[in-house]
C-alpha cells in the first residue's frame, strides 16, 4: 500500500473521536488488559465492572452463559470474579463494553453478523488455545474478539467504499479482505491497526489486527496471530462468517499459519480437528443467544 493511502487512513481514523459513546471504563480496561495477570488487582476489576450499572448487569448475564462456564447467575460481581478469575471477567467486561460502544445501526456489514463472527472467533481462539500448552486463553479470546476491529472503522469512516466492497464480496463469493483490496486498495487490517494504535492496545493485539490475513509478515507474536488466523477461517466455514457464501475450500493443515503454530506447539499434531469442528458447532447456538443479548438491537436490560 502506498504512503498516501496510509496517511489518509490515519487521518480519517484520527477523526473518529466522535464514535458512538465509548463506555467510561473502556480505556482503563484496555490498559489493565495489557498488564500481566499477577499485576491486576481484584478490587480494581470489581470497581471497573460495577462502574456502570447497565454494563454490570450485562456482565453477570454473560457470565452465566454456557460459553463462560458459570452454571448459575452469580450473585455479585465479586462472586463472579472469584469463581471465574480476574482475566475471564476482564474479557467479559470487554465483550460488554464493545457491545455498548457500537450500537446496532445501518452498517454495510450487519452488526449482528459482525459480532457473531467476532465473538465466535474469540470463543474458538479460547477453545483452540486450551488444546495447546502454555497459551494465555483469555488473551487469545481478546485477540479473537478484536481481530476485525477494522471492519467497524470501515463501516464508520468509509461507508460508501465499504458498501461496494460488501456487494462485490457477496456477488463473487470471495473473502472480504480480497474484495477490500480490489475495491478500496486497502483492507480492514490497515484501518483496524490504525485504530488499535490510537487506542494504545497492546503490541500483540495490534499485530493480530494488522496481520491476521498475512501471518508470515508479522514481526511479533506470530503464534498468536496464527491462532487467530486459523480460528477466523474455521468460524467462516462453520456458520459464523460474514453472512454470505464464500466459494472456496479451506485446508487448515496446509495453511502456513498451521506450520507457524506447530513450530511452537508440537502438541498440535495430535489434535483431532474434525472433532474440534463438531465441538465448535455446539457453541454456535450459544453465540447467537449471547450476541442478541449483548449486541442486539433490543435494549440489553429489557
Amino acid at each position: 500500500m502506498n504512503t498516501s493511502f496510509t496517511s489518509t487512513i490515519r487521518q480519517r481514523v484520527e477523526g473518529i473521536e466522535t464514535m458512538p459513546a465509548i463506555p467510561a471504563v473502556f480505556l482503563p480496561l484496555l490498559k489493565m488488559l495489557g498488564d500481566s495477570a499477577e499485576e491486576v488487582n481484584v478490587d480494581e476489576v470489581v470497581r471497573l465492572v460495577s462502574y456502570d450499572n447497565t454494563i454490570a448487569a450485562q456482565c453477570l448475564r454473560v457470565a452465566s452463559s454456557p460459553l463462560f462456564g458459570l452454571a448459575q447467575l452469580p450473585r455479585s460481581i465479586k462472586g463472579a470474579v472469584m469463581s471465574l478469575g480476574v482475566r475471564r471477567v476482564e474479557t467479559i467486561l470487554l465483550t460488554c463494553c464493545l457491545g455498548q460502544a457500537f450500537p446496532a445501526e445501518k452498517w454495510a456489514l450487519d452488526p449482528e453478523v459482525f459480532w457473531r463472527h467476532s465473538l465466535g472467533c474469540a470463543m474458538v481462539c479460547r477453545k483452540f488455545s486450551e488444546k495447546l500448552i502454555a497459551v494465555d486463553a483469555e488473551k487469545a479470546y481478546m485477540a479473537g474478539l478484536l481481530h476485525d476491529l477494522g471492519f467497524m472503522v470501515n463501516c464508520l469512516v468509509f461507508p460508501k467504499e465499504f458498501a461496494a466492497t460488501m456487494e462485490r464480496a457477496c456477488q463473487q463469493g470471495i473473502p472480504l479482505h480480497e474484495a477490500e483490496l480490489a475495491t478500496m486498495g486497502f483492507t480492514h487490517c490497515e484501518t483496524g491497526q490504525a485504530l488499535a494504535e490510537k487506542w494504545k492496545l497492546g503490541d500483540d493485539v495490534v499485530e493480530v489486527i494488522g496481520h491476521h490475513h498475512a501471518v508470515e509478515q508479522c514481526q511479533k507474536a506470530q503464534p498468536l496471530v496464527a491462532l487467530v488466523h486459523l480460528s477466523d477461517l474455521l468460524c467462516r466455514m462453520r456458520g459464523l462468517g460474514y453472512g454470505y457464501y464464500e466459494r472456496h475450500k479451506v485446508d487448515l493443515i496446509s495453511d502456513p499459519a498451521w506450520a507457524i503454530l506447530l513450530k511452537e506447539h508440537r502438541e498440535l499434531e495430535g489434535m483431532d480437528l474434525v472433532r474440534f469442528t463438531f465441538e465448535l458447532d455446539e457453541a454456535v447456538e450459544d453465540i447467537h443467544a449471547l450476541v442478541s443479548t449483548v449486541f442486539g438491537s433490543a435494549p440489553a436490560t429489557a
Binding site: 448475564r61 452465566s64 455479585s76 485446508d251 472433532r275 469442528t277
Partner: protein, 302 residues
C-alpha cells in the same frame, strides 16, 4: 462490593436439552466417537439419549449407567454398539440430506474439477456412492448433476456408480420409490421436475434420472473388486464405515484414495470423522461441511 439487585439479570436461556441430560450420555457419546467416528453434538445428545432409551427397553436396562455397562461389556461392533449405531443413524436417510455438501459440490468443487479437466479430451465425471443403501443419496446427486447439465457440465458425461452390500437395498434403490419421510427435505421444484406420482403417498424417480446411475452389489471389503473401481472424481460413503473396525476401515479408505483421481474428493456423513486413519487425504472445510481431498497434480500439495 455488591451491586444493587439486578432485575435485568436473568440468565441466558440454557441450551435445549443439554442441561438435563444424564452425564453418562456424554460418556456414551465419547465411546461411540472413539469406536465409530460418529459425533453427536451436545445439542443433539437427546437424540443419542432417545436411541439409547429404545435399546434400554429392549435389554431391560433400567438406567443409562446399566446400559453403559452393557455397552462396555461388549465394546466391539458385533456387540450392542452396532444396534446403537443403527438407532442413532436411522433417521438420517433421506434425499437432500445435507444441503451444505450439495452447495460445496456445486459451488466450489464442480467448478474446480471442470477447470482442472478442461484440457482433457473426454469430459467425463465419475461419482461413486459407496454404501448407497436404498438410493436416496445417489438420486440426490444425479438430480443435482442434471441441474448443472446446461451450465457447468454442458457437454459432459456424468456416471454415478451406486453400490451396496445388501441385495434388497440395491433392488429398492433401483425402484426409486419414496414416501414422505424420505422426501421431507426435497423441495417442490425437485419433486415436480424429477418424480412421477405413484399414489397419494409415494413418488417415483423419473427414468432420465435413473439413466445416470448404475446400481450394483459390492462388498467394500472385497479387495479384488475394490481395485476395479478406478477413475472416480467423487466418492460418497456416508454412515457406512462406522460399522467397520479400525483395520478394515483403514483398508477401505486406502482403496478410496487409490480409486480417486488426483483432485478428487471423498465425503463422509455429516457428523462422521475419518479421525487419523489416512495421512494422504487432506482434510478440507467448505461452508458448513468437511471433505477429504486427494490433491491435484497442479496444487503442489501431494
Amino acid at each position: 462490593m455488591t451491586i444493587a439487585p439486578q432485575p435485568a439479570a436473568a440468565p441466558l436461556t440454557p441450551r435445549k436439552g443439554a442441561e438435563t441430560v444424564d452425564p453418562v450420555y456424554r460418556q456414551i457419546r465419547d465411546l461411540v466417537y472413539k469406536v465409530s467416528g460418529i459425533y453427536k453434538a451436545e445439542e443433539k445428545l437427546y437424540l443419542l439419549a432417545d436411541g439409547c432409551g429404545r435399546r434400554m427397553k429392549q435389554l431391560n436396562a433400567r438406567t443409562p449407567r446399566e446400559y453403559w455397562d452393557v455397552l462396555t461389556a461388549q465394546p466391539g461392533r458385533d456387540g450392542e454398539l452396532r444396534h446403537l449405531l443403527n438407532e442413532i443413524t436411522i433417521g438420517e436417510t433421506s434425499l437432500f440430506r445435507s444441503q451444505p455438501q450439495l452447495d460445496a459440490l456445486r459451488k466450489v468443487i464442480l467448478p474446480e474439477i471442470v477447470a482442472e479437466k478442461t484440457k482433457q479430451i473426454t469430459k467425463r465425471l465419475r461419482i461413486w456412492s459407496a454404501g448407497c443403501s436404498t438410493g436416496e443419496e445417489s438420486y440426490t446427486l444425479a438430480m443435482n448433476m442434471l441441474e448443472e447439465s446446461e451450465r457447468l457440465l454442458k457437454g459432459w458425461t456424468v456416471e454415478i456408480l451406486a453400490t451396496d452390500l445388501n441385495d434388497r437395498s440395491v433392488e429398492a434403490a433401483k425402484a426409486g420409490i419414496y414416501g414422505d419421510y424420505a422426501l421431507r427435505n426435497t423441495t417442490d421444484y425437485f419433486k415436480r421436475k424429477y418424480f412421477t406420482t405413484i399414489d397419494e403417498k409415494k413418488l417415483q424417480v423419473r427414468p432420465e434420472v435413473k439413466k445416470l446411475i448404475n446400481f450394483s452389489r459390492l462388498n467394500l471389503q472385497d479387495d479384488s473388486k475394490m481395485l476395479f473401481m478406478k477413475g472416480m472424481d467423487l466418492i460418497f460413503c456416508c454412515n457406512v464405515l462406522i460399522y467397520f473396525d479400525g483395520a478394515s476401515k483403514s483398508k477401505v479408505i486406502n482403496h478410496f484414495f487409490t480409486n480417486l483421481n488426483f483432485g478428487g474428493y471423498f465425503f463422509l456423513g455429516t457428523s462422521e470423522s475419518l479421525m487419523k486413519l489416512n495421512e494422504q487425504f487432506h482434510l478440507v472445510h467448505f461452508p458448513g461441511t468437511i471433505a477429504y481431498w486427494k490433491p491435484s497434480l497442479s496444487s503442489g500439495k501431494l
